[in-house]
Structure formats: structure tokens, C-alpha cells
């Protein structure tokens, strides 16, 4: 029996107090001991680094400073000014927004459609659910490679399929205006997780609500908009937030397909330059740590702002069963 009681060293003076509140006190100290791993991690890997990151964003911290050749000097708002002036920042933000706007609604709609069919199909629902979930367990590096081969303009199978129906396919991976759509299509391929969340939400909708709506003369569309959507709105809202945050931080697929030190793609296309990709290159390829920190805080601010807007707007649409939880 591992005794946690030993963590409390009983002094003679504390004896009386301990007899009164000893149980609670011991519980308190044990609890703090239990959460100690998180506290250490929070201080060393989250809170401390946040403060440091904020500090670095006002300095010129870079490769010279890491190596100890130069002192770190404070540059005030210089890095934040560069954020406004560097055209690649604007490009990367635009790319990221466009990509997120393409993927989030598409994924939500496809996932909802599939989930609604699966919820009512008479058999093999489990089989199809498994099949649709499979793409979601594909490592993002592999997805980046799949984009390159499947969407290859000359040989890719996507363009071969388009040829069959008489549409000349674009050069997805090299034409700047088709790079993001191909990334987005591939992202919709990994819709399984979202679908599983919707499926669980749909199954939790009580059948009697549909029966009541039918008796009131509601057709399928009315039932969908007045019963299904409100009842699963918490799940919709959850995925909306999570997919948006994930979309705004897209990295691996894009980096794999279009960036890196190798010979793949003579020049990395600006059309694929996502915010986090650019941040990563600034920090770990050019070692402009100060500037990259400023970029990180910009990203944080953007994510917070968008999430806040989503919360405010959705308050009108999200329905929590059993009263207002928020």
C-alpha cells in the first residue's frame, strides 16, 4: 500500500489542528501532489514559453543570438511593423483563410450528409462507417504525397477521370489558382472523424421528436431544419470550431507537398504558403526567431478573434438540451 500520508510531516504544534481538519488538509496536499505533473508542464512548457515568446517578439533574436555572437537587442515594434510590410505575410494569411473557408463548410456538409444516410441505412452502416473513417488515419505526410501523385497535372488519376467525362483537368499542383482547391479536396477526403461525431449526435436525437413533427405535418425538410439541425447543433458547433482552428494551422500536408530542402518542385509556390508554414520557415529555416514569435502572436490573436466571433454568432443557433449551459 503506497502511503501518501507520508507526504505530510506532522509537527507537534500542528497536531491539534490536524485532528480538526487533518483529513481535508491531507486531501488538499495529495491533490496538489497529483496535479504536480501538469503544473510543472504548464510552467515550463506553456506559461514560461508564452512570456518568452512575447518578449522575443520585441527583439531581433536570431541565429547570431542563438550562437552567442551577438547580444539580443530590443527592437520595439519593428517585428510587428514587418508583419504589415512583408508581402508574404499577407499572402500566407490570405492562403490560410481561403483554404479554411474552402475546407470547413465542405467538410461539415459532406460529413453531415454521410452521417444522415448512415443513421438511417438499414444495414452495413458499421461497414461504411469504417470505410469512411479510414482516410482519417492516414498520416498527413502521406496525404501530402498523395496530393502530388493523384493531382499530378499530366499523369494524375484525377485528371484522367476528368478526361473520361470530357473535362480538361487543370495542372493542380503547379497552377497557383488550383493548388488550394486540390489541397481542400484532399482535406475533404479525411472527413471521417467529423462524420463519426455527427453520427453519434444524430443517434442521440429522440425519435419521438420526429414523430411529433410528422404529426404536426412537417415534411422531411421541415423536420431537418426544425428538429435535426437544432438537436445536433452542439456537435455542429464543436466541429465548426475545431475544424476552423485546425484549418488555420494547416502545416504538414502542405509542407510535405510543396516545401523542404529537396529537389521536389524547383520553387515552392506562393499559392501554397500557409501561415504556419511561413512561420516555421522563418523560425527554423531562416532562424528569425524574433520575427517568427511576432507571427505566432498574430496567429494566436487571429484564432482567438475568429473563435470569439464563432461563439457570439453561434449563441443564437446552438441549442443545448436541458437549458442554457453556457
Amino acid at each position: 500500500m503506497a502511503s501518501v500520508a507520508s507526504t505530510e510531516t506532522a509537527g507537534p504544534l500542528q497536531g491539534a489542528r490536524r485532528r480538526l481538519s487533518g483529513f481535508r488538509e491531507r486531501e488538499t496536499w495529495t491533490a496538489y501532489l497529483f496535479i504536480l505533473p501538469w503544473v510543472i508542464g504548464f510552467l515550463a512548457l506553456t506559461a514560461g514559453p508564452m512570456v518568452a515568446s512575447l518578449y522575443f517578439s520585441f527583439t531581433d533574436y536570431g541565429v547570431q543570438q542563438i550562437a552567442g555572437f551577438e547580444e539580443t537587442s530590443r527592437v520595439g515594434l519593428e517585428n510587428y511593423r514587418t508583419l504589415l510590410e512583408d508581402p508574404k505575410i499577407a499572402t500566407s494569411l490570405k492562403n490560410t483563410f481561403v483554404y479554411t473557408l474552402m475546407t470547413v463548410p465542405a467538410k461539415m456538409m459532406v460529413a453531415l450528409g454521410l452521417a444522415m444516410i448512415l443513421a438511417r441505412i438499414a444495414f452495413a452502416a458499421g461497414f461504411f462507417r469504417t470505410v469512411f473513417y479510414l482516410p482519417d488515419i492516414t498520416p498527413p505526410v502521406a496525404i501530402g504525397i498523395m496530393i502530388l501523385v493523384l493531382f499530378n497535372g499530366s499523369f494524375g488519376v484525377v485528371n484522367r477521370a476528368l478526361e473520361l467525362v470530357g473535362i480538361p483537368g487543370p495542372y493542380w499542383t503547379t497552377d497557383p489558382s488550383w493548388i488550394k482547391p486540390s489541397l481542400a479536396i484532399m482535406s475533404v477526403w479525411t472527413v471521417g472523424g467529423t462524420m463519426v461525431i455527427y453520427l453519434a449526435a444524430l443517434k442521440a436525437v429522440p425519435q419521438h421528436l420526429y414523430e411529433a413533427a410528422s404529426m404536426d405535418g412537417a415534411g422531411p425538410w421541415r423536420r431537418f431544419f426544425n428538429v435535426t439541425l437544432p438537436m445536433i447543433s452542439p456537435a455542429l458547433f464543436f466541429t465548426f470550431i475545431v475544424l476552423t482552428i485546425a484549418g488555420l494551422q494547416t502545416f504538414t500536408e502542405v509542407y510535405t507537398a510543396y516545401f523542404g530542402q529537396g529537389s521536389t518542385g524547383a520553387e515552392s509556390p506562393d499559392a501554397a504558403l500557409m501561415n504556419v508554414v511561413y512561420l516555421f520557415r522563418q523560425a527554423f529555416e531562416f532562424f528569425n526567431m524574433g520575427f517568427a514569435s511576432a507571427m505566432a502572436w498574430l496567429l494566436f490573436a487571429i484564432i482567438m478573434a475568429i473563435t470569439a466571433i464563432q461563439f457570439v454568432v453561434s449563441r443564437r443557433f446552438v441549442f443545448y438540451q436541458g437549458g442554457d449551459k453556457r
Binding site: 502511503s3 470505410v131 504556419v276
Partner: protein, 345 residues
């Protein structure tokens, strides 16, 4: 005495199907979930056929890239992009001669490309990291679920808040910390007697998992809240200390949630490219995603006909397949774990 407690509370066999676990949010799903067909009215006759056909069509879209990949990995260089699902000419691109002809190497015999070590690295780092994060998160989560202590709610809110923080914000300072550590433990450092820790070692990939992870703490806490408090109180009366109560009652009951956390983290590590990219320099230390990216960069050759895409495809298959196997074994935990996420909304 400990055996007595074991008899009173048959926790040993309490697995997925334990009715007690079924009280928790995760347990409710794990215990009673599965395909009960839903409570919605199923489609009838002709509609059923139509939707079955539709789903079959979409299934083909979902599975096609996998089949394409596997088949391309079994073709000779020139045939990769012929888009046949059954290779016209078969070629094994995975293993081969240890002294290969240049330009005709196989995946596992590529020069300076230790694919087997990468796989091994990915496996042990993933397993260790998943084990550590499951345990540390469970300990922290148990404190938030069971104990009452000053600041509990504020601290828990803080944990939830950290989930919103993009990794990019802490990424750079955390790198600098590891960089500092590697200077200290390096040959000329003050802590040179320690093993090399820091940049260009694999420690940064799993050490952070010792401290729990916000999302997993949240998930485990929800689960622990679902376990009846009487069970713990009874163990206390039997004379268990807090830690042995946690170990002998809470952990065995939380097995389904622990497995979900374990699998999620294993998957996260198997997917991760950015962390290895930041920290690892020697190719012997690489994990599989970084190794695959290296193969792509070295063999892709501008994406044209020059590239040795049959090798790249073999490498991709080797990266994808272990996850598919894991999924095949633990499917219900993947699915129910994901489904649970949606409930916190």
C-alpha cells in the same frame, strides 16, 4: 487485505463491458454503444437501395487512394503513373539486394536511408509517449475529479484554456529551452556528465508527455466523474491510501478511457512531422514521417518522370499501413473516442 478489496470490487476484469463503467460519458458510449441501428426510422425499400449504391460509390472514392498507393508501390519505375490498379508488370520495391545497382535500389536498401530504424524510432517513441501521457493525464485528471482543493475550478479552467493556444506560440521558446539543455549536457557543458539531451536527440519528442496534456486530462476527468464515489470511499475504508486507491480502483475502471488516450497519442506521434523536423538532425534518429519526407525530397526529382516514385510509394505504404492495422484492431476505441469528443460541445 488488498486481496480482500480486490474481491469486493471486481475491478480486475472491469473492461469495456463493465456495467459500472457505463455510467461515465465515455463508458456510456463504450459500454452501450456500437451499432444499435440508431433510434431513427430506417429507410424503406427503394430508398435503401439508392443510398446503398451511393454509399458504395463514396466508399470507392474513400478507398481508391489506398489501392492506388499499394498498386503503385508494386510497379516498375516507368509504370507508376499508368493508373492501373493491377500492375501490368509487378516489381517488388520494398526489400532487395544489400549492394544494389545505383538507380535500382529498393526501399529498405536505399543508401543513407535507414527506413527500418525510422520505423523502430516511430514505434518506440509513439508507444512510450502514449504510455506516459496516458498515465500522467490520468493522475492529474483523477485529482480534478475526486479531490476538493482550493483553486480547483480555476486551475481546471486554465487547463481548458490552454487547449486554445496554438502550438506555434510556445514552439520557439520550447526549442530554445532544449537548445540550452543540449549546450549544458554537451561535451563542453557544465552538465556534461549527463547523457546528451536536447536538440538532435529524441528526448524532445516524448519528454513533454510526462506532464499530461490538456485534452486528455479533460477526457479522463469526465470519465472519472462517472465512476460512483462510493467505490473510492469503500476503498478508503478498507485502508487504501489515496495513491493505491487511484491505482487499484480508478485506473482499472478507466481502462477504456486510457486506451482511447493511448491510441490518440500514438496516432498523434505517428502523424507528427513538425517536431522531428525541428529537433532531429541525424538521419538515424528520424521518425517515419520525417524519413518519408526525406525520401520524397531525395527521390521526387521535380515530380516528373525522373523521380523514383515507386520507392516513394513503397515508403508511403510503409507509413500508412501500421495505422491501418492499429485501426483494425482498436476500431471501436478510435470511433468511440472521436464520438465522445463531440459531446463536450
Amino acid at each position: 487485505m488488498s486481496a480482500g478489496a480486490q474481491e469486493n470490487f471486481p475491478t480486475g476484469g472491469a473492461g469495456v463491458a463493465s456495467p459500472r463503467v457505463a455510467h461515465g460519458p465515455l463508458g456510456r458510449i463504450l459500454g452501450g454503444g456500437g451499432d444499435d441501428g440508431g433510434r431513427r426510422r430506417p429507410f424503406g425499400g427503394i430508398k435503401n437501395v439508392f443510398f446503398l449504391l451511393l454509399l458504395t460509390g463514396i466508399s470507392i472514392l474513400a478507398l481508391y487512394p489506398f489501392v492506388w498507393l499499394i498498386s503503385a508501390s508494386l510497379k516498375p519505375q516507368g509504370d507508376v503513373f499508368d493508373n492501373r490498379l493491377i500492375p501490368q508488370e509487378w516489381q517488388w520495391n520494398y526489400t532487395g539486394d544489400p549492394t544494389p545497382v545505383p538507380g535500382d535500389e529498393k526501399l529498405f536498401a536505399l543508401p543513407d536511408t535507414p527506413v527500418l530504424s525510422w520505423m523502430f524510432n516511430s514505434v518506440w517513441i509513439g508507444l512510450l509517449a502514449a504510455l506516459l501521457v496516458a498515465m500522467s493525464s490520468a493522475v492529474v485528471a483523477f485529482a480534478f475529479a475526486y479531490f476538493r482543493f482550493p483553486g480547483r475550478n480555476a486551475l481546471f479552467a486554465l487547463i481548458l484554456a490552454t487547449m486554445m493556444l496554438p502550438g506555434a506560440v510556445t514552439m520557439i521558446p520550447v526549442y530554445l529551452i532544449w537548445n540550452e539543455i543540449s549546450l549544458l549536457t554537451g561535451e563542453t557543458g557544465r552538465l556534461a556528465f549527463l547523457p546528451d539531451i536536447g536538440v538532435n536527440t529524441q528526448y524532445p519528442l516524448w519528454v513533454p508527455n510526462l506532464f499530461g496534456s490538456a485534452f486528455y486530462i479533460f477526457l479522463m476527468r469526465q470519465f472519472f466523474l462517472g465512476i460512483p464515489r462510493d467505490l473510492f470511499e469503500a476503498a478508503r475504508i478498507d485502508g487504501d491510501g489515496y495513491f493505491s486507491m487511484f491505482r487499484r480502483i480508478a485506473l482499472p475502471l478507466a481502462k477504456p478511457a486510457l486506451i482511447v488516450v493511448f491510441i490518440f497519442e500514438l496516432q498523434a506521434k505517428w502523424f507528427d512531422l513538425m517536431t522531428p523536423l525541428i529537433y532531429l538532425r541525424d538521419s538515424a534518429l528520424y521518425t517515419l514521417p520525417l524519413g518519408l519526407k526525406t525520401i520524397l525530397d531525395a527521390q521526387g526529382a521535380g515530380g516528373g518522370g525522373e523521380g523514383r516514385w515507386e520507392i516513394i510509394m513503397a515508403g508511403t505504404v510503409v507509413t500508412v499501413l501500421p495505422m491501418v492495422i492499429l485501426f483494425a484492431i482498436f476500431q471501436r476505441y478510435f470511433i468511440e473516442g472521436i464520438a465522445t469528443q463531440g459531446r463536450k460541445g
